[in-house]
Symmetry: none
DNA sequence: AATGAATGAGGATTCATTCAT
DNA sequence: GATGAATGAATCCTCATTCAT
C-alpha cells in the first residue's frame, strides 16, 4: 500500500541504515540488500530513490556532514568571543553523537571512497574547507596571519585523533580528545604571544 | 620456467604489485588477478604463496611498515641527542618514499581493513606503539612526565597530515609536512619550559 | 518476467533438473550452472533459493525420498493384510519411476555424499529407518520376534539390488528385481514356519 | 637422490595413500597433492607414475579388489566341500581388513566412479562376475539349476550390507554381517530342499 | 510507491597437470 | 628418478541492477 509523501521518510531511513551497516561491518563491503533490509524496505526501492549504491554512500556521508555542521552552528550561536567559538568548534567535532566507533568507521571509509568517487571527494573537501574557514575566522582576531597555519594544524590534529580511534578497542572518549586539542590550541596561542615579543628563531636552543 | 628458490622473489614482486595496484585503484577493490598480472605471475601463484587475498594485503602492509621502520632506524643512527633524534623520526615519516600518494592510499585502506582483519589491526597497532615509544624515548629527557601526552599529539598530527593528503590533488609535499610537525614540536617544547616557570592555569586569559 | 509466487515453481524445476543432471553425469560432479540451465533459470537464482550447491543436492534427495514415500503410502492403502502390505512396500521400491538408471545414479551419489554432508546423512538414515519400521510392522504379525532380523535382510537385499544395477548397461528391470525380493521374503517366511517346528540347529547337516 | 627400483615401492605407497585419503574424506574429492603428501612424495611423481588422477583411483580400486581376491583364494584352499567353501567366500567379504569404514567408503565411491570411468566400471564388473562365479561353482553341487538365482541374491545381500554400513556411525561389525549372510544362505538351501519335495506354489497360504 | 524475482558479470579460490631443473 | 614452481581453466558464490507486476 504505497503512500504519498513517503519519499523523505524512506530516504532518511535508508541513509541511517547505511551508516549503521557500515559501522557494523567496519567497511564499505555492505550490500544494498543489507541496507535495505535494515531500513525495512526492498532493495529495489533503494535503487529507486538513489539510483546506485555509490549515491547511497554519498547521501550517507552528506548526512553525517550535515549533522556535524548543524552541531557546529548550534554551538557557535551560544559562544561568545573567538576563544569560546574555537572551543565550540572543537568540542562539536568530538561530540558524543559524532565520535562513536560507528561514525568513525563510516568516516574512515568515506575517506577511502573519496579516492574513487568524485561525489565523496567533493563532500570531504567541503568539510575540510569549512572546518578550516571556521577555525581561521576565529583565529584571525587572536593571531592574525598565523591563523592559516594554525588552523591547518588543529584540523590535522582532529583528523589524526579520529583515525587513531579507529584502531582502539575501547569506546571513544570524545571528552578527552577535545581536551587534548584544546590544550594544543592554548599552547599555540600562548606560543604565538611569546614569539611576537621574542626575535624570530629564538626558540631554538 | 620453474626454478628453485623463487619463493622470496615472487613474494616480493607480489607485495610490491599489491601496493602499486592499491595505490592505482585508490581502494582495496583490487582483484588478485590484477595484482598477479602486475607481478608477472598467475593468479594461482599468488594464492599458492599467500593463501588468500587478505594475507596478500597483510603482507603488503607489513612491507610498508618494515620499510618505514628501517628508515626510522637508519635516520636514528645518524642523529645525536634527543632533539636530532625526534627530528629524524618525524622526517622519516614524511620521507619521499613513504609520503607518496600511492602509499598514502594504501595506508588509508589498511586502516579500514584493520576494522575487519585481525592481522591488519595488529600490524597497525604495532606501528602506533612503536612510533609512540620512539617519541617518548626522546621526549622524556626533554620534558619528563609530559612526554606521553606530547607523543600522542605528535603522532596524531602525523596521521592527520597523512589522511589530509589523501584528498589532495597535488603531489604530497613531505618536506612541508615535516616542517609543520617540527614547528609544532618546537612549540610544545618551549611551552613546556614556560609552564614550568609559571603557575598552572596561568595560560588562560 | 518476474512474477509473484514463482518460488515453489522454481524450486521444483531446479530439484528436478538436479536429478536429471546427476543421472546424466553419473556423478555429483555437476555444476550449478548446468542445473540452472536445464531448469531454465540463471545460476544466481539457484543460489538465491537454495543458498548453496549442497543444499540443492539435499533438496533433490529429499524430493526423491518423498516421492518414494508417497508411493509406498499409496500402495499401502490398497493393500489388505500383512502379506499384501509387504508386497506393496517391496514393489514400490522397484516401481518404474524410482528404479530408473537416472534415479539409481542419484541414489548412489547421495550415499556417497552422506559421508560428508550432515543433511544428506540424516535423510538417508530417515529413509532406512522408515523402510525398516514399515517392514517390521507387517512382519511382526507373521513372524513375531524374528521380524527385526528379517526386515534388515530384506532392506539390505533391496539396497544391494539397487547398487548392482548401477553397473548394468541394460535398462533396470524393476519387475524382476521385486520378484526376486518377494521370492526371498517367501523363503524367509516359510523357513520361519519350519524352524518353529524343528529343534534349533537342526538345519546344519 | 633418486634410487633404482623405487617404482613398485612408490606405486604401492601412492595406492595405499589413496585409499586412506578417500576413506578419510569420505569422498573422491581428494586432491592429488593430499595423496602424494601422505605417500611422502611430490604431486609430480604421482602423475609420473600413474598419468592421471583417474588412473590413481583405478589402481587403488584394483588394489582393494586384488587383496580381496587373495583373501578369498586363501580361504578357499583351507575349505573342504561346497558348504565350507561358500562360508569361506562370505566370511572373506566381511573380513576385518576389508570391512573397515575406510574401505567401505572407498568402495562406495568406486561404484560411483564406475558410472563415469570405464576402467573403474570394468574392475567392478569383474569383481561381481568373480563373486558370482565363485558362489555358483559351490552352489551348483548343492542346488543345481537354482544356483544362479541364489548366487545373485547372496551377492546382492553382501553389497547391500556394505552400503548400509556407509551410514553407520559405529564401527562395522564384519562378524555379525557374515553371520547374517550365512543364515540367509542356510535358509535358501533348506528352502530349496523343501521346495523339491513339495508341489510348486505350495508355499503361499 | 513498492516489491522481489531474475539476471549475469565478476572474483576468489582450487587443483590437475606440466615442465625446467 | 624426483621435485615443486607455475599455470589457467573451472566453479561456486555474491551482488548491483533491472523490471514486470
Amino acid at each position: 500500500m504505497p503512500k504519498l509523501g513517503m519519499e523523505p521518510i524512506r530516504r532518511d531511513a535508508l541513509v541511517k541504515a547505511t551508516i549503521t551497516e557500515i559501522g557494523r561491518a567496519g567497511s564499505l563491503d555492505v550490500t544494498v540488500s543489507q541496507i535495505a533490509k535494515r531500513a525495512g524496505v526492498s532493495s529495489g526501492l533503494a535503487h529507486h530513490y538513489f539510483g546506485s549504491k555509490e549515491q547511497i554512500f554519498v547521501a550517507a556521508m552528506r548526512h553525517i556532514l550535515s549533522v556535524y555542521g548543524a552541531q557546529v552552528r548550534a554551538a557557535l550561536t551560544l559562544a561568545k568571543g573567538p576563544r569560546e567559538r574555537l572551543e565550540a568548534i572543537i568540542r562539536a567535532s568530538f561530540e558524543a553523537g559524532n565520535f562513536r566507533s560507528e561514525v568513525i568507521s563510516a568516516w574512515m571509509n568515506f575517506y577511502v571512497q573519496a579516492q574513487t568517487s568524485e561525489g565523496a571527494r567533493r563532500l570531504l573537501q567541503l568539510y575540510q574547507a569549512r572546518l578550516r574557514s571556521n577555525l581561521i575566522h576565529d583565529l584571525r582576531p587572536l593571531v592574525g596571519a598565523a591563523a592559516s597555519e594554525m588552523a591547518a594544524n588543529i584540523a590535522a590534529l582532529i583528523d589524526g585523533l579520529y583515525i587513531r580511534h579507529a584502531l582502539r578497542d575501547s569506546k571513544p572518549d570524545g571528552q578527552r580528545a577535545s581536551e587534548r586539542v584544546l590544550a594544543c590550541l592554548e599552547m599555540m596561542l600562548s606560543d604565538h604571544l611569546c614569539s611576537e615579543n621574542i626575535p624570530a628563531g629564538g626558540m631554538k636552543p
